[in-house]
Amino acid sequence: MTLTVKDFDTCAKPDWCPGCGNFGIQAALKQALANLGIEPHKTVLVAGIGCGSKMAHWVDVYGLHTLHGRSLPPATAVKFANPELTVVVAGGDGDGYGIGMGHFIHTMRRNVDMTYLVQNNMVYGLTKGQTTPTSAKGFKTPSTPFGSIEEPLNPIALALAMGATYVARGFSGDVMHLTKLIEGAIKHKGFALIDIFQPCVTFNKINTYAYFMQNTYKLEDEKGYDAGDWEKAMAKARQTDKLPIGLFFKTERPTYEEQDPGRTGESLVDADISDIDVRPLMEKFM
């Protein structure tokens, strides 16, 4: 089906700060959905809570705007219930790598077929500027006025270790590049993580557009980089002098939902439940 970005526009407009990195992510997601020709009613955009999670209201598909840190379990259930749906999840680094970390790890090892976009601005925006798990050591915020003492979390390395089957990093300042990564993630059958550098223009004065432009490079520009090589991907994930963006790693592995013993057909949503016979079940107890 031929679709354009307009098919995913909403009347309501985002209330993000002018210049917020989320605008680029929203544009890339709409463009990717249009390019892939997925009809709006066949996609569910699940989100946590945070500035970026409000995106669920500003892309014209089915939306499920959940709780802080809890986007992945409901998204998993959406996919389990109806695998014909395209499931995209959006949330910030605090949402996914902080409060929601437990679900993040388990969803990856299950290899549920979904695309997880993490708007990683290394700061809490909606609660006004506290440190997050990805903030740099020494980052001064209202909750860490003398500087953060903890080492930052490495989401790419973690995803590789936990068996994610599509691991990428994007930059909201490069919408074309990010669009391609999202398209690849949605087409990929399995769990896809795209960690997205997303400048918070209000609360993060360190990880700015200029910072990311100066400190990132594209993996596809590096001659001979092979996204099928897990060891190389892990080495790239640990690089800190320069920050690679692009597809780190991709592999094929059966998804959880296609192996679920309870699955009888394509979608349980269509199952006839009007008159289920439990007599054979009762007889087992006699």
Partner: protein, 616 residues
């Protein structure tokens, strides 16, 4: 001679087949056409510690175990130390002097039957593992039961483990049976005689009943984290997932479980989770999400004693007020407390209908005593059970509503600033948003809006945990907030009209009215009979629906009673508090218990008589 009225107990170390022996003995009752009730008491550990299983058999329906034993099968010395004084006069106990390495003196009027259980197991059963089967054989020998029925049960039970295991168990049972016949003859005063008529009864736990009700209702999604005493719900559903086409997910924690159930409900599946108080505590934020998103789901809280880890394997009814208020803010929920094994089946089925008709979470409050006890239960009558999905729309219905709404939408678009959605209710008859999406939270007379699910064309909407307008988009206006709070609250008015009001059980004109909920209800039905025999007329008001609450009916009934006694397995009398809050009526007396062990009928009778005698 006492025939077909027996309380039998097996006791021993955990890990030695105490509960499976209990199950076999209970099945002997089922196959004899008798009523059965079995209560298992065990500590929270895997091996060792004291385990016991009490099976009561009777020609009359039984709801509860008795505190006195007729026959005790002691698999170790500790069992005798703990339970010897619980045996009635004329009763007996089976023990193994050789294995215990000491003789045991029987209390006055009680007979000890020394049976070399271990020796027989090694010789005839080809291994110590059959010691419990030898004990069953010996028990049935004393009771003069028909061994062909036992052989049939053993064959059925051990079939999966192979012919050799079946043969060993049959041989072990026979050797135990023959030993007591030879050495003790017909000395024991209790007998079991199979009834001639065949009766189709199941031996089930209340957790089994809930699962059967859920499957009958078309539950297609279960997410749960193991927690005693709810885990058998997870196990049951997982075991039958393939046959019934159900996705059963053992999640990383209860937070994920409840969040998944919300996701499944949003996508259109009938979904359920089961847990106990600690897990329920972790679920409450997502419970509120279901309230806000108006997603149907069923949550079973099988209560155990708290607070915190409490007594993990014992029983209590301490979560009533918690379940009623769990999660921040106000949102409608239905809280149901089944009071019998049968009700666990029928009300679990109803729970799914109610959840979808009123688009809200339904909590079923059960407790360990029901959830892990076994009871002989008539096959459930599923005739006339109808799956009702409320205002869940089909694709055709969406198309129709959209066609009808077009004119109204056109008008609306001219009137409403398109960039902000709505700031209040849209025009009557319009089901479309300015985005041309579906008004999933349309304000309707009954508070229940037509519902679409992902994948349906023309049904797009956004479900949000923030306050939202009719389209699901966020707004913080006062006008909208008021409308939405009122809309959600209204659903309970409709639910209350649909739920049957409680009625008095027993003689209308009674001296004493018991007020109870959940598993004590069964025991109270026996108490009423026992009191009648002593010349005290008693009846019972069972409260099944905790929210919404039948304020008018409950108030009227209680105000018409002579003396009311609240009976609850908790320390605060939570139902009594709820009744006082709702009706302004204060129950006269309370009989409460919080030791973790269920009331028995005689205990309740004694405490009732003490109250009567004290006051009069």
């Amino acid at each position: 001679m006492q025939t077909n009225d027996l309380t039998w107990m097996i006791g021993g170390e955990a890990g030695f087949g105490i509960q499976s022996a209990g199950h076999i003995f209970a099945m002997c009752g089922i196959r004899a056409g008798l009523h059965v009730f079995g209560n298992a008491e065990y500590p929270s550990l895997i091996r060792g510690g004291h385990n016991s299983d009490v099976i009561r058999l009777s020609e009359k329906e039984v709801h509860i175990h008795k505190e006195k034993l007729d026959l005790l099968l002691a698999m170790n010395k500790e069992t005798l130390d703990m339970h010897l004084n619980e045996i009635v006069e004329g009763g007996g106990f089976i023990y193994d002097a050789e294995a215990f390495k000491e003789e045991v003196a029987a209390p006055k009027g009680v007979t000890g039957f020394n049976v070399p259980l271990k020796k027989i197991a090694l010789e005839s059963g080809k291994g110590d593992i059959t010691r419990n089967t030898v004990g069953i054989g010996a028990s049935l020998g004393l009771l003069d039961y028909d061994m062909t029925i036992l052989n049939d049960i053993l064959t059925h039970m051990f079939a999966k483990k192979g012919e050799e295991v079946v043969a060993n168990n049959i041989a072990a049972a026979k050797a135990g049976y023959d030993f007591v016949k030879k050495n003790y003859g017909d000395a024991f005063g209790f007998k079991l005689k199979p009834l001639n008529k065949k009766i189709d009864r199941m031996l089930i736990t209340a957790n089994d009943a809930i699962c059967m009700g859920a499957l009958k209702a078309g539950c297609k999604f279960v997410a749960e984290y193991p927690m005693t005493p709810s885990s058998s719900i997870l196990h049951f559903m997982a075991a039958h997932a393939k046959d019934y086409g159900v996705i059963v997910k053992h999640t990383e924690d209860e937070i994920a479980a409840m969040n998944m159930v919300v996701g499944a409900g949003f996508t259109g599946l009938r979904a359920m989770t089961g847990t106990s108080g600690g897990g329920f505590s972790l679920m409450v934020e997502a419970l509120g999400m279901a309230g806000m998103l108006e997603v149907p789901l069923v949550c079973v809280n099988v209560q155990r004693p708290g607070p915190s880890t409490g007594l993990p394997t014992r029983t209590e009814q301490g979560d009533l007020l918690f379940a009623l208020h769990a999660s921040q803010g106000e949102f409608p929920r239905i809280v149901i407390a089944p009071g019998s094994f049968e009700e666990n089946f029928y009300l679990a089925f109803d729970a799914f209908n109610l959840a979808e008709k009123f688009q809200l979470p339904v909590i079923i409050l059960s407790d360990k005593h029901m959830a892990e006890s076994v009871k002989s239960t008539e096959m459930f009558d599923t005739k006339g059970m109808k799956v009702e999905r409320g205002k869940l729309l089909s694709q055709e219905q969406i198309d129709e509503l959209r066609a009808k709404s077009e004119a109204a939408l056109k008008k609306l678009k001219q009137e409403t600033p398109a960039d902000r959605g709505f700031n209040g209710a849209s025009a009557e008859g319009n089901y479309l948003s300015v985005d041309n999406n579906f008004l999933r939270y349309k304000i309707e007379e009954d508070g229940v809006s037509p519902r679409t699910i992902p994948g349906m064309k023309g049904g797009i909407y956004r479900a949000a945990t923030d306050e939202h307008d009719e389209s699901g988009d966020l707004t913080e206006t006062e006008e909208n907030r008021n409308l939405m709070v009122e809309k959600r609250a209204k659903k309970l008015e409709g639910a209350l009209r649909e739920l049957p009001a409680p009625v008095l059980y027993g003689d209308k004109d009674a001296e004493v009215t018991f007020v109870a909920w959940g598993s004590p209800v069964g025991a109270l039905k026996e108490v009423i009979e026992i009191l009648a025999a002593e010349g005290v007329k008693a009846n019972l008001l069972q409260i099944t629906y905790m929210c919404p609450f039948h304020t008018k009916e409950v108030g009227e009934i209680l105000r018409g009673c002579k003396r009311t006694i609240g009976v609850e397995m908790n320390g605060e009398g939570q139902l009594c508090s709820l009744i006082a809050e709702k009706t302004g009526y204060f129950v006269n007396d309370k009989i409460l218990k919080y030791s973790g062990r269920q009331f028995t009928a005689h205990e309740l009778k004694d405490r009732t008589m003490a109250l009567i005698n004290k006051k009069s």
